[in-house]
């Protein structure tokens, strides 16, 4: 029974990683950059939600919507100010700028909200219970976990349909294949890239709310480690691939929880990363990634 319980926790955590990884993978596919500030957008989403509920007394749904809108706007603004001017610069330059944005967000949060951990309000408790008890109390599934997994699946399906069947989605795929050619076909590249960042950041906000609901402490550095792990998950699943982000995220979450439960809590991170390295040794382009051969 504990195996099942851990599996559910793993899938739940993995879903959160998957949603974050989606943001990384979409931005990488289109702008060929690793947006290291992504993890901190999650943190901002969490804080926005916290502020509206704790200080303004809003109810959960509007708070979450505000967080999503706020993060989306943040994503677009950051892209326009910091990344767009560097479109033609080497990718390492954009990486460093992203790091600068990450530092900025973390320190801004530190100034605005202080370094003391905030307790995130409980959103997902219905009729006083935090979850469902099955098998006579042996298996507890929290509502948070159920909602997290459901949200993740909905997002994945929605995104797959979006990129596969809508005009905007096709534009995104075109731009990620060949920016110049897409432009020649009349696609507004700037708008498409901004849209990608917007979607990614919006997803980050959702991930932030779900993350803070599962692990209720909120600090300026909350987004950092999940960001790194989700980035790892995105590469693990094959960077640039949406199903890869899902697979990578879920596997990472499950491995982390199982390592924590069955091997060692302190060494769980080391184990997760070791598995990643081993997988990459066997499949150098990630689980679902494509190895691009150089033409001689």
């Amino acid at each position: 029974m504990t195996i099942l319980s851990n599996l559910i926790s793993g899938i739940s955590l993995g879903s959160i990683y998957a949603i974050i990884a989606l943001g990384y993978t979409m931005v990488y596919g289109i702008a060929k950059m690793l947006n290291f500030a992504h993890g901190d957008v999650i943190m901002v989403g969490g804080y926005l939600c916290f502020c509206t509920t704790a200080y303004l007394g809003w109810s959960p749904l509007p708070a979450v919507l505000l967080a999503i809108v706020g993060c989306t706007v943040l994503g677009i603004v950051v892209e326009r100010l910091a990344y767009k001017p560097l479109r033609s610069a080497p990718s390492l330059a954009v990486l460093i700028t992203a790091i600068g944005v990450s530092y900025f967000l973390q320190n801004a949060a530190l100034l605005l909200w202080g370094s003391d951990p905030k307790v995130f309000p409980t959103f997902f408790s219905f009729s006083g219970k935090s979850g469902v008890a099955l098998f006579g109390g042996q298996l507890n599934i929290t509502y948070v976990a159920m909602i997290t997994v459901t949200v993740c699946l909905i997002i994945m399906l929605a995104l797959t349909m979006f990129t596969g069947h809508t005009k905007m989605g096709k534009a995104m795929r075109a731009v990620s294949e060949d920016k110049g050619a897409a432009q020649l076909m009349g696609i507004d590249v700037n708008f498409t890239i901004s849209m990608t960042f917007a979607i990614g950041s919006g997803l980050a906000a959702i991930a932030g709310v779900l993350l803070c609901s599962t692990y209720p402490t909120l600090m300026p550095t909350t987004g950092s480690m999940p960001g790194i792990k989700a980035f790892t998950a995105a590469v693990f699943g094959g960077i640039g691939s949406i199903p890869g982000a899902l697979l990578g995220g879920l596997l990472l979450g499950v491995i982390e929880i199982f390592a924590r439960a069955y091997v060692s809590t302190q060494l769980s991170d080391a184990i997760v990363f070791t598995v990643l390295i081993l997988v990459l040794l066997v499949k150098p382009s990630g689980l679902l990634g494509r190895l691009i051969r150089e033409k001689v």
Binding site: T97, Y103, F273, P284
Partner: protein, 350 residues
């Protein structure tokens, strides 16, 4: 003709060495004259350590051309190995010798670990390689956080559970206590030691780059397929560069650790790796002199921003973003090209 071609790069190297020598002389004078604030005094050795970190990372990122996001991991291994070695040597050995020997152990330990890391590094490319280095950095941090090391009459004891499980004799001393890090470190580092390490690092890296091994590594960076077609083995030369870079990082870690009475594995995390990467990118990829200047300047910068009090790190972040935007703006690039800063200048062919 022959003399002239050697002189061009040698001249550039002399400027780099000279710069470090002058900086050292000035700092040493200020230090002995008691003219430095205590915060600046405390930064001298860390600056030396970060300079060595930046130069060694430039060997991997700029010269070899591979993004490494886990360089702090090697610094960490070096730091803790040095601490253990220093304790094992005991105070019977004279200060400077003890420091040098311990640091050598630290460097060697980092080199050994790099032999494990290099295996996937050689098989992967680009972002996947970067991820693996990041992973190793986290793994090293995590493992050191769980290690317990103690020293007593019988020797050095290692364990992963807790202090008691080590079975130390009554007069034994705990060196490394898992998440609480290393304590009781003899503060043997000095500015002079830092200076010597910096000069050694410069000599190793500059001489490596201007030798056939350096050329081979740079050829692999510029065009791997062409390099293989002229008989350059990627495995051999990448390993050379990577392990050298790791050993230097280990030495830097040793110097850094012996500057404090206690250190935590947490200090050598992803953030530190990124910090050093920023030094390298800002200084210019492959530009050794640039790395030195960037490392020194950016380490001191938060101190200079003290007047901004709480807004210090925010300003640092904004400055970083602005500098990146500025240096990559096509208009500014054209302006800089006319002054030809930094890297060894080459005549553009007519």
């Amino acid at each position: 003709m022959k003399l002239k071609h050697i002189a061009l790069s040698t001249r550039s190297n002399f400027i780099t060495y000279g710069m470090v020598i002058v900086a050292y002389a000035v700092m040493e004078a200020l230090l002995s004259g008691g003219l430095l604030t205590s915060s600046l005094k405390g930064m001298l050795v860390p600056i030396c350590a970060y300079v060595v970190m930046a130069v060694s990372l430039n060997l991997t990122v700029g010269i070899m051309g591979e993004l490494s996001l886990g360089h702090a991991g090697f610094m960490s291994v070096g730091a803790f190995a040095t601490v253990i070695a220093a304790a094992a040597l005991g105070s019977t050995v004279a200060g400077p010798v003890r420091l040098a020997a311990s640091m050598a152990v630290g460097g060697a330990a980092a080199g050994l670990v790099s032999l494990i890391v290099v295996v996937p590094v050689l098989r992967l490319q680009g972002d996947y390689l970067a991820i693996v280095t990041l992973a190793f950095g986290e793994i090293i941090k995590n493992i050191i956080n769980c290690v317990y090391v103690g020293l007593d009459g019988a020797g050095i004891h290692f364990g992963m559970k807790d202090a008691a499980a080590l079975g130390l004799a009554a007069d034994g001393k705990m060196l490394l206590q898992g998440p609480m890090g290393a304590v009781g470190i003899p503060k043997l580092s000095s500015l002079t030691a830092g200076f010597i390490l910096m000069m050694l690092t410069l000599a190793v890296v500059l001489n490596f780059v201007h030798s056939r091994s350096g050329r081979a590594v740079m050829a692999l960076r510029d065009n791997r397929i062409a390099a293989e077609s002229v008989g350059i083995s990627p495995t051999r030369y990448k390993m050379m560069a990577f392990v050298t870079s790791a050993v230097l990082a280990g030495l830097a870690g040793g110097l850094y650790a012996m500057n404090f009475s206690s250190i935590l594995a947490k200090k050598f995390d992803f953030n530190t790796s990124i910090l050093v990467l920023v030094f390298v990118v800002l200084g210019g990829m492959g530009n050794i002199r640039g790395s030195i200047i960037a490392a020194a300047a950016l380490t001191v910068l938060p101190e200079l921003l003290r007047q901004f009090a709480d807004y210090r790190m925010l300003v640092y972040a904004i400055v970083l973003i602005l500098v990146m935007l500025f240096t990559n703006n096509p208009a500014c690039k054209a302006l800089f090209a006319r002054f030809k800063f930094g890297s060894s200048t080459r005549k553009e062919a007519v």
